[in-house]
């Protein structure tokens, strides 16, 4: 049965690591937590306990992970912001997996999210037939988290309408939820907190109010600091994903990953890695997450329709798809990049250059 599931939650995927950490616990464990803050950090940043290797989940910027964990220790809510694809949701999922062993109390913020989804709603059939009762109440993930003293996740909070965001304010400051229909006050148990994520690109959609912001400790997740850590992230994630997805292709070679990361970083930062040449940026974000999915796509292409290893042609079409979002402008930027940067990179890049050139040629 389990094998049919497309994507296992983090706590099941890394069950043995979590178990090992809990078993080897040496530090005091805060109320409502499954392990100590130190162990949570080991779980996220990688390490080894009693012979069990802990794979790193978030690479680079360990200090930010420490700040995030410490925030949750002080029962403050945590807001992770950053450009799209900087592992905000990823980090939030793993934090809850390690702290509570449960990463599924999620409210997905959208323009259509309502206040009920943050607090509670009703089973209307039961409500009509029996009147208001606890049984007729449908508790939201946040409600559940308060009752159990665990951490709820709110994804893309800045996409919610402001009245929905405001509903969170009272929950976070009073740390209790009231159900006037039942004359009920449910206090949060120790360990309750919220991890929200917000996208800095979408800032304008529903700017968070100062009152709400004040209830969060804000951690900005940056893009990976250098090529090496970005390659490490991409490598780890691609191999994990390909195992899950049963892609019939061999893992991308080191130099393929390097090429993709180099291209992404250069287009993202607007200059070459050696800082010597300016590069015209593109409208897309070209995040690390996108690099990962690009490589997985290429593997799927190669596995299903190709030789099983990623060729330059596979890579070229995937790259073009990822880079060119806003037709005209990006097309020009991509062609300029091909001619001015990639063409001059020497023989290692010439295969990829030729393939890209062929695709983009009219």
């Amino acid at each position: 049965m389990e094998e049919q599931i497309l994507r296992l939650p983090a706590e099941q995927l890394f069950q043995n690591e979590i178990d090992a950490l809990i078993k080897a616990e040496k530090h005091p464990v805060p109320a409502g937590w499954n392990m100590s803050p130190q162990s949570v950090k080991t779980y996220i940043c990688g390490g080894e306990v009693n012979g069990t290797k802990i794979t790193p989940k978030y690479i680079g910027h360990e200090r930010l992970v420490e700040i995030a964990i410490s925030t949750l220790v002080t029962d403050r809510a945590l807001l992770l912001t950053g450009e799209p694809g900087t592992a905000k949701s990823w980090l939030s999922e793993h934090l809850t997996a390690a702290i509570n062993g449960c990463s599924t109390k999620v409210v997905q913020g959208t323009a259509g999210t309502t206040e009920e989804q943050i607090k509670y709603s009703w089973n209307y059939a039961m409500l009509v037939s029996k009147g208001p009762s606890i049984e007729a109440m449908l508790k939201s993930p946040v409600f559940n988290a308060m009752e159990t003293g665990t951490i709820a996740r709110v994804e893309e909070i800045s996409r919610c309408a402001s009245e929905v965001q405001d509903a969170l304010i009272s929950l976070l400051s009073e740390k209790r939820i009231s159900v006037p229909e039942l004359a009920l006050e449910v206090p949060a148990q120790k360990g309750f907190s919220v991890i929200a994520t917000a996208n800095t690109r979408d800032k304008g959609v529903n700017e968070m109010s100062a009152a709400l912001k004040r209830r969060f400790n804000i951690v900005i997740l940056p893009a990976p600091a250098n090529l090496e850590s970005e390659m490490e992230i991409v490598n780890t994630r691609v191999s994990q994903l390909s195992m899950n997805l049963d892609l019939n292709a061999s893992l991308p070679e080191e130099d393929v990953v390097e090429k993709v990361c180099t291209i992404f970083r250069e287009l993202r930062n607007g200059e070459t890695l050696d800082h010597k040449q300016k590069v015209k940026g593109t409208s897309g974000v070209l995040s690390t997450a996108e690099a990962i999915s690009l490589l997985c796509n290429s593997m799927a292409l190669a596995g299903s329709f190709g030789s099983g290893t990623i060729t330059d042609t596979d890579l070229a079409s995937a790259l073009q798809g990822a880079v060119i979002k806003d037709e005209e402008k990006d097309n020009i930027a991509w062609k300029e990049y091909l001619e001015n940067i990639m063409k001059k990179r020497g023989s290692e890049w010439s295969g990829l250059y030729m393939a890209c050139k062929e695709l983009s040629g009219e």
Partner: protein, 749 residues
């Protein structure tokens, strides 16, 4: 025999300062020996004076140029400083035992421990950073040593730290030889102290923890230090600043966050270990609010809690600076460092500067500086924060005493003298006034660098004025052109130093005798002229300057005519020189007007000179009313007569048209002459003339051209407005091409 009590410290360490005092309280020593140049013992009594407020520094400098300096900073939380205070309170004796500064400064390489360059040390510290992880060795030191819970812990911790550091560097590094020498000297000093009859148990030796191991074998010391290199040095106490401390981080010389370290020290004094962490956020929030960024008390509380949690994650008992800063970024800056960077700079580094009692500064020039600050009521500018001051040099008639009436003038003198000495204390800003005469705008900011330059200036003189005058004298002696000397004269007048001005004037006079460059002469004459004209606002006595200006002017008159034999390119320089000389002559009635007119007339008349210059000279004469209409006509007809090469004639007209255009426009006959001249030219000649005439008329405005057109219309019998339209039209492409082709014209005769 017993060993003396060694206490290893880290310079500028609050915990070290606190536990050292505890240590001294327990040991009650008779004598405390401190790592620091042995010839500094005489400043101890000044350091302990009530009015002395750290941060301060001892500056030692060589007596001869090039001046080399070393600096020993003390903050309130320096263990050495607290040792000095302790000894003063208990009547114990204290001595510095390191190499004297006279030897230090004579050594080929300065000791990187205190001196500017930190290269040698950086390597080992970079290595340490790697070993320590977690924010590097600074954080390691803070977590382990600054948060040490007891005297015992600090004492042994520092010893181990020093010993380990030593085992990493022993025998290598460029400064190892120096370390060996210094430690040998210190050992000898310890031995001397013991030999003088003090029980070693009653001696405490305070050194950097690094040296503790090296001093252990003090009994074996029998070195002879007679042959050590030596140079003559002086030293002085000077105020220091937290900012300067923070820029020279590294082992001995400073630390990155002095204001934060003073919070740590305050925490020790209050016996309140959490003090530094909450006061850090309170100070930060106060600064943010003051600068218009609201920070709620709730955020401050959250930050304190987060910092505590961060420290716990690192198994620290209390937050270290990096925890505090990260918590501030997260809770107060909403995740971005930029939002709190100014606040953290203020809280961590701060703007504190030290003070010394009057008369303690060792150099008389420093004394003079502070005396004048006081006298000129400029004390409030003695601050690490940059401040503006506007000076009005005119007499203030509303006050009684003469001193008060001219206080801004005297301030200006003082600031200009400091400027001449190249101290960074005062920088002059531009004012809206052209040729700024009575108003000056200055930016004042005290910094230890400014003080250092001041101390170095002690070699030039005992007072600021004296040093400035020496500086100016040197500039005069090294001057290679009159312009440089004129600048010195100008500076001397700005500084209100007549004698220096006279000295420079004499030098100028000597140089002027040999100068034949009209350009130089005119430029210098103009500078002097301005000083004489506006100098009275600065109470400059113009008398000594007048003769030299007359001389310069006369000399310019003599050489001007021969300078006028030149090509068109050089003529521009000469034109501006003539213009300057003319305005100088007009400004002063003591100059030889007759001679000047004679020269101009001669230039205007002679045919062998550059015709443009002749034309220009005529224009000036015309303007000054020294040429009547009659002679103008004669001259115009002569210059523009048929047969004169076209470029010469038109060139002359160009020079004439450079001045008093209205006078020219008003004279109809002039245009008639020009018209007749042009009609006599052949086509080929006309093309030549066209170039010059076009240039001559380029300077006229549309309205002026309009009037010329009217004149021409009169002469040619055309309608004025039509002509005007014709001359004011922008060239179309084909005409432009023709004109451009004229540019290729061969002008070789």
């Amino acid at each position: 025999m017993d060993n003396p009590n060694f206490f290893g410290i880290r310079h500028l360490s609050p915990a070290g300062a606190y536990y050292l005092r505890c240590f001294l309280d327990i040991k009650q020593p008779e004598l405390v020996l401190v790592e620091g140049p042995a010839d500094f013992n005489d400043i101890l009594k000044d350091i302990t004076r009530k009015e002395t407020k750290p941060p301060i520094a001892v500056l030692a400098y060589t007596k001869e140029v090039p001046v080399r300096t070393i600096l020993y900073p003390f903050a309130e939380y320096s263990p050495e400083y607290q040792a000095i205070l302790w000894c003063n309170e208990r009547n114990a004796r204290l001595r510095f035992i390191d190499l004297p500064s006279s030897t230090f400064l004579a050594l080929p390489e300065r000791c990187p421990l205190y001196a500017e360059g930190e290269e040698n040390r950086t390597n080992i510290y970079m290595e340490l950073d790697k070993i320590c992880g977690d924010g590097g060795h600074e954080t390691f030191w803070e977590r382990v040593m600054e948060q040490a819970g007891s005297l015992e812990a600090y004492h042994t911790g520092a010893k181990n730290f020093g010993a380990n550091l030593r085992s990493l560097t022993e025998g290598n590094g460029d400064n190892w030889a120096e370390t060996v020498l210094r430690e040998a000297y210190m050992r000898q000093q310890i031995k001397d102290a013991v030999n003088s009859g003090i029980n070693p148990a009653n001696i405490v030796v305070v050194t950097g923890s690094y040296h503790v191991e090296g001093l252990k074998n003090w009994q074996e010391s029998n070195e002879n230090f007679k042959g050590m290199p030596e140079t003559e040095t002086l030293h002085t106490l000077m105020p220091y600043s937290y900012y300067r401390l923070s820029t020279r981080s590294g082992y001995g010389a400073g630390n990155k966050a002095p204001a934060y370290y003073s919070l740590l020290w305050e925490g020790f004094k209050r016996n309140e270990p959490g003090y530094s962490s909450y006061s850090y956020f309170v100070k930060l929030a106060a600064y943010m609010r003051k600068t218009g960024n609201p920070v709620s008390a709730a955020s401050v509380i959250e930050a304190v809690r987060l910092a505590g949690a961060l420290a716990m994650l690192r198994n620290g008992s209390r937050p270290a600076l990096c925890d505090l800063r990260d918590a501030a970024i997260t809770c107060i800056g909403e995740g971005s460092f930029a939002a709190v960077s100014l606040g953290t700079a203020d809280t961590e580094i701060g703007t504190v500067i030290g003070t010394l009692p009057d008369g303690v500064s060792r150099t008389s020039i420093q004394d003079d500086f502070y005396r004048q600050l006081n006298e000129l009521k400029l004390e409030k500018y003695y601050s690490a924060v940059c401040q503006d001051i506007m000076l009005d040099l005119r007499e203030n008639r509303r006050v009684k005493s003469e001193k008060a009436a001219f206080i801004d003038l005297h301030r200006s003198f003082f600031l200009h003298q400091l400027r001449v000495l190249n101290t960074s204390f005062a920088t002059q800003q531009k004012t809206n006034q052209d040729n700024a005469t009575w108003q000056e705008h200055w930016m004042l900011q005290w910094s230890p660098e400014a003080e250092t330059v001041l101390v170095e200036s002690a070699l030039k003189g005992d007072t600021i004025a004296g040093a400035a005058s020496f500086e100016m004298k040197e500039r005069v002696e090294n001057a290679t052109s009159m312009g440089q000397i004129a600048l010195v004269i100008e500076d001397a007048c700005y500084c209100g130093m007549e004698k220096a001005a006279v000295y420079a004037t004499t030098a100028l006079q000597k140089m002027a005798v040999d100068t034949i460059s009209v350009e130089d002469l005119a430029e210098t004459a103009q500078r002097l002229s301005i000083i004489i004209q506006y100098g009275n606002i600065r109470k400059v006595n113009p008398m000594p300057l007048k003769p030299i200006l007359s001389q310069l002017f006369y000399r310019a008159c003599l050489v001007l005519e021969s300078a006028c034999i030149c090509d068109d390119a050089a003529s521009q320089i000469i034109t501006s020189a003539i213009e300057k000389l003319n305005s100088t002559e007009l400004a002063h009635d003591f100059l030889d007007t007759e001679e000047w007119i004679k020269v101009l007339q001669s230039i205007a008349r002679h045919d062998n000179l550059n015709t443009k210059l002749s034309g220009f000279a005529a224009a000036i004469l015309l303007e000054r009313g020294n040429m009547d209409t009659e002679s103008l006509h004669t001259e115009v007809s002569r210059r523009l007569s048929a047969g004169t090469p076209a470029d010469l004639g038109a060139g002359w007209f160009e020079g004439l048209a450079m001045k008093n255009k209205y006078a020219l426009i008003a004279r109809l006959s002039l245009w008639e002459s020009l018209n007749i001249y042009l009609t006599t030219l052949t086509d080929e000649e006309f093309k030549r003339a066209l170039l010059f005439l076009r240039r001559a008329f380029a300077g006229f405005s549309a309205a002026e051209k309009d009037q010329i057109a009217e004149n021409l219309g009169e002469i040619l019998g055309l309608d004025g407005s039509q002509t005007s339209e014709a001359v004011n039209t922008v060239l179309d492409e084909s005409s432009q091409e023709i004109i451009d082709s004229l540019g290729d014209f061969d002008f070789d005769f």
